[in-house]
Amino acid sequence: MPSLTAATRTVRSAWRSVFRVGWPRTDKDRTAAMISSFFLHVHSAKVKKHSLRASYTLGLGLISFYLLLVLVVTGVALMLYYTPHPPEAYRSMKDLQFVVTFGPVLRNMHRWAAHAMVLVVFLHMCRVFFTGGYKTPRRFNWVVGVVLFLLTLGLSFTGYLLPWDQLSFWAITVGSNIASYAPWIGDDLKYLMLGGHVIGSGALLRFYVLHCVVLPGAAMTLVAVHFFRVRKDGLSAPPQPEPSAIVEAAPGRFPASTRSYGLMALTDRPAQPVVESDPEDDEVLSWPHLLYRELLLLLAVLVVLHVVALVFNAPLEEIANATITPNPAKAPWYFLGLQELVHYSAFVGGVLVPGVIVLALVLIPYLDPKPRGVGVWFARERRWANWTFGAFAIVAVVLTIVGTFFRGPNWAWVWPWMR
């Protein structure tokens, strides 16, 4: 028996070497669990109650991240059966559809998660705008978010070509031609993007590398930056301005943080004890309140994705054929708003509008620096800003819907129920 006890002790100690805190039973342990784990340390030990309210954040940022995780996992799996070269690429799709065990579900999930991510990231951006979340100290994190949105579009767009079917081929043809309307550099831009004048094996390889290496790398890095800022500045902007956070760093001084437990943050700060200055009532422990919610949201996202993937098959048309143009040839749906504008004017739709939109999005936090109306939906103080942004968002959505559902052959108007 003594040997058994010894063995048990060894196992337990080995377990402890990995999970130092164990299952936490006291508040102290719960705090320790959070800050002693590499993964959990992305959260602080305590969170503000307002940031847990579902009606405030709608969980959109987290859903985006989950979708990204799903896309990475399914994407890596799909890469094992994919050959980025024209005829074999299409063959890979057919193999995934017909003979790879779980291939259809994986491909469907990757496809629908990608579309969902574009949508959810857009909604997340709207949410942050309407609750004033881009204001000091989160101004730069908004910019990071805008870039992440563009990366999401880029990931989805580059992935669109990979099946090498008629749908993808012509969507990328249209999409890359929209890009060629950029003044002066348009043609070079398209040449660079396609690695040639037409969409061929070179373009496919470029899109593959962008889709599987460059853009995911960039997106993950920026997600890390995004999360780091969130971690430093607190989950979602609070309804009231935080006393210590109103002023961003004075010149030459390290920016104060309300959430840091590190010594670094103490060195240059006013001589006051770093304790939580907020009333105790305003905060709850991240374990279990935050983590539990995150787990439930993950399950919910997975359930929905699986159902969608089981019910709806990802589209796969005939193999790409440069001699047969489908009518109409449509870009991916999230660019159909632009295509609708391109229909009227190539320059306006292809260059002016997207350029202005990106520029405006990046500049928003710097054009609207007043720290009022933060932390609540549609604050009255920000009525003008909300109306403006809302109007643009609605126009974008309407144009996209028109381009997707109301445009038939020769880009003529078609009622969706008349098809």
């Binding site: 017909f98 709850v284 279990p288 309140h289 439930l296 997975l302």
Partner: protein, 664 residues
């Protein structure tokens, strides 16, 4: 009061519910995979396999468990049909239900599945592993569904590019129809040659035809002659007037002078006799009797002018250098009487008896007619001086089988928007599918149009490796020179006979080794005075009126050039060989088909004069292996021993008109 630092109860509930939901969904994923259609099909197969096979055979067969695929590396095609069609190459499943039934016929022997897969012949989506996606019926986003039986030969033709692929009867019929209709004149089509297009030259047609006939002909050629090759161009009445004016103005080559002919002495009855003697009926049809190589002549008298016909019979190549008509050696009087017979007896009772004089034509109308001529691409078939153009008037059909059609292509015609339906409608009624289509109406019957559709569907993008394609090379034109060449040209031997695959198919006798088959003296005599060797065959060698010198020139050439050394063996039969041969002749029942003297059948050639006609080397070679010399011949291969062949040959060489036909 502090918020409790534990999770509220409703979150536990949500956790349990979401967790169970997730498990449920996840098991759905597994179910979908492990109850896939092909797995249940294979389970059914295993049940049937146990019934139809004995345990030993069962133990040898590879287990029906898992996806099977045939990968054709050279054409990069993957077929997984055998995942469900598990019994196709196993005779034990002849009576099994589909999808397990054994493949019909001997197709898998000639096209082993490991080399040809399934979809190469059948179409469909080979990568698929379920009934629907395999495109047994047409599905969206797969352009090549499984071909129904009436179209499957189109897939034969993608690899088998020869004109008449074996056992693909619809395809062969369709290709023959395409060649006959002359599609190649207006469309690029692989496997056909412009040389096959037969249409008279029109540079001097103004001297040839009567205006009444021309107008009628242009309005609808098939109304004049049901078997006319020229299609109906659906010309407007004023176009017909213009075109008639233009054509009548074409008088580039003056006909041979017929002014010295005294028509009052013409004897139509004698002309009729000349017509019969010269065997004109071998090529020309009158009242439904005769050959189809040349034009039908029932009402030729109402069609052509007398002087032109006289000139034409004197020398057909004078204004029609490419005609298939031979130049008879007839006396002027015979020609006069023949013309009289043709123009006086063979007339349309409704037509005017005398043609109007060749007179003045309005230049404006002539010019308008020229434009009509160009617009409808008449020069595509009727080679016409400088009007011929290199580009064809119709769209290229080089990959017509890959064309995609849209519902809008059908212009309201009610049909499934498939390529086969489109082609069928286009062939039957070209004007329905396009505004102002210049494609003429060919009056194809439903059956003809269907075969042409099969042939057109077989014409696909030429991306098959050479090892996959079978083709019969186009015969090389044979144009002999010198005195012999001049005679071949004059008597148009190649309108009926073939040399090296080049030439007409009317005659059953190719000339390639004729010098080793026939005796010299027989050739000389026969050319001057041909007679019926095959009594039952309607088309006979014409009576050219050849001179003895000409016949000898030809026979010399035959005997020195058209020979096969393998047939030129000395023949020295044993003394009593002929007697044994005679017995064998009776025993084999040769007389059932062949005549000797007065008795025998009419199927095979008359053998009465064999001893003076054929060379013994040829008889032996023929008897030993008839199929080798003439594939599809009715002559049975009796599998004769060499000595039997020799005996029979010895007997046949004893036969001659003097010995057998008459009393010695």
């Amino acid at each position: 009061m502090r918020t409790p630092q534990t999770a509220p109860s409703r979150m536990h509930l949500a956790f349990a519910v979401l967790g169970l939901a997730f498990l449920g969904i996840f098991s759905w994923v597994f179910m979908q995979e492990f109850f896939a259609e092909w797995r249940t099909t294979q389970a059914q197969f295993r049940a049937i396999e146990g019934q139809v096979k004995d345990p030993h055979a069962l133990s040898l067969a590879p287990p029906a468990d898992g996806i099977r695929q045939i990968w054709l590396r050279d054409i990069d095609r993957v077929d997984r049909c055998t995942t469900c069609h598990l019994g196709v190459d196993d005779d034990a499943f002849v009576k099994a239900p589909q999808p397990f039934t054994t493949h019909s016929g001997t197709w898998l022997k000639t096209h082993p599945p490991d080399r040809f897969g399934c979809t190469v012949c059948h179409g469909g989506q080979g990568e698929a592993t379920d009934y629907r996606d395999a495109a047994h019926q047409p599905i969206p986003h797969w352009s090549d569904p499984i071909r129904p039986r009436e179209l499957i030969e189109a897939n034969c033709g993608t690899c088998h590019r020869e004109r008449e692929p074996k056992e693909a009867f619809l395809l062969a019929a369709g290709r023959a129809r395409i060649a006959e209709a002359g599609c190649i004149a207006c469309h690029d089509l692989p496997g056909f040659s412009l040389d096959e297009v037969q249409a008279p030259r029109l540079e001097s047609v103004g001297y040839k035809v009567r205006p009444d006939w021309l107008r009628k002909w242009l309005a609808d050629p098939k109304a004049y002659l049901p078997q006319a090759r020229m299609p109906n161009f659906r010309l407007e009445p004023d176009e017909i007037q213009d075109l008639t004016a233009f054509l009548l103005s074409q008088r580039q080559t003056t006909p041979l002078d017929a002014s010295g002919v005294d028509w009052s002495k013409a004897d139509a009855d004698h002309g009729r006799a000349v017509f019969g003697e010269a065997r004109c009926v071998s090529c020309h049809m009158i009242d439904g009797r005769g050959g189809t190589l040349g034009p039908e002549l029932t009402t030729v008298g109402s069609k052509v002018r007398r002087d032109w016909l006289y000139s034409f019979l004197e020398d057909p190549m004078h204004d029609q250098p490419d005609t298939r008509m031979l130049r008879y050696r007839l006396a002027d009087n015979d020609i006069r009487d023949l013309v009289a017979y043709l123009t006086e007896d063979l007339v349309d009772p409704d037509a005017a008896t005398t043609p109007p004089a060749v007179g003045f034509l309005d230049p404006k109308q002539v010019e308008a007619g020229k434009q009509t001529f160009i617009k409808h691409g008449c020069f595509s078939c009727h080679r016409f001086g400088n009007l011929a153009s290199t580009a064809k008037i119709g769209p290229s059909l080089m990959a017509i089988g890959d064309r995609t059609v849209e519902p809008s292509d059908f212009r309201g015609e009610s049909a499934d928007p498939t390529l086969e339906n489109y082609l069928y409608l286009k062939l039957r009624e070209p004007d329905k599918l396009a505004e102002d289509s210049r494609m003429p109406t060919f009056n194809f019957t439903e059956q003809e149009a269907a075969t042409v559709v099969v042939a057109l569907l077989s014409t696909r993008k030429a991306d098959l490796p050479a090892s996959r394609v079978t083709d019969a090379p186009a015969p090389k034109p044979y144009r002999p020179q010198g005195a012999f060449g001049a005679l071949v040209s004059r008597y148009r031997c190649l309108s009926c006979h073939q040399v090296n695959g080049w030439g007409g198919t009317l005659s059953t006798v190719p000339l390639d080794r004729i010098g080793s088959q026939l005796q010299y003296a027989h050739i000389v005599a026969y050319l001057q005075q041909p007679y019926a060797i095959r009594v039952s065959v309607e088309a006979r060698m014409p009576h050219f009126g050849m001179t003895a010198d000409e016949a000898r020139t030809i026979a010399d050439y035959f005997s020195s050039v058209f020979v096969d050394d393998a047939l030129e063996k000395p023949f020295a039969p044993a003394p009593d060989a002929a007697r044994r041969g005679a017995a064998l002749y009776t025993k084999l029942g040769c007389r059932g088909c062949h005549i000797i003297g007065q008795t025998g059948g009419y199927v095979g050639p008359d053998l009465s004069d064999t001893g003076h006609r054929l060379k013994p080397g040829w008889i032996q070679a023929w008897l030993a292996a008839p199929e080798k010399w003439k594939p599809g011949t009715l002559q049975p291969d009796y599998g004769l021993k060499p000595e039997e062949v020799q005996d029979l040959t010895a007997y046949l060489m004893t036969l001659s008109r003097t010995a057998a036909g008459r009393t010695p």
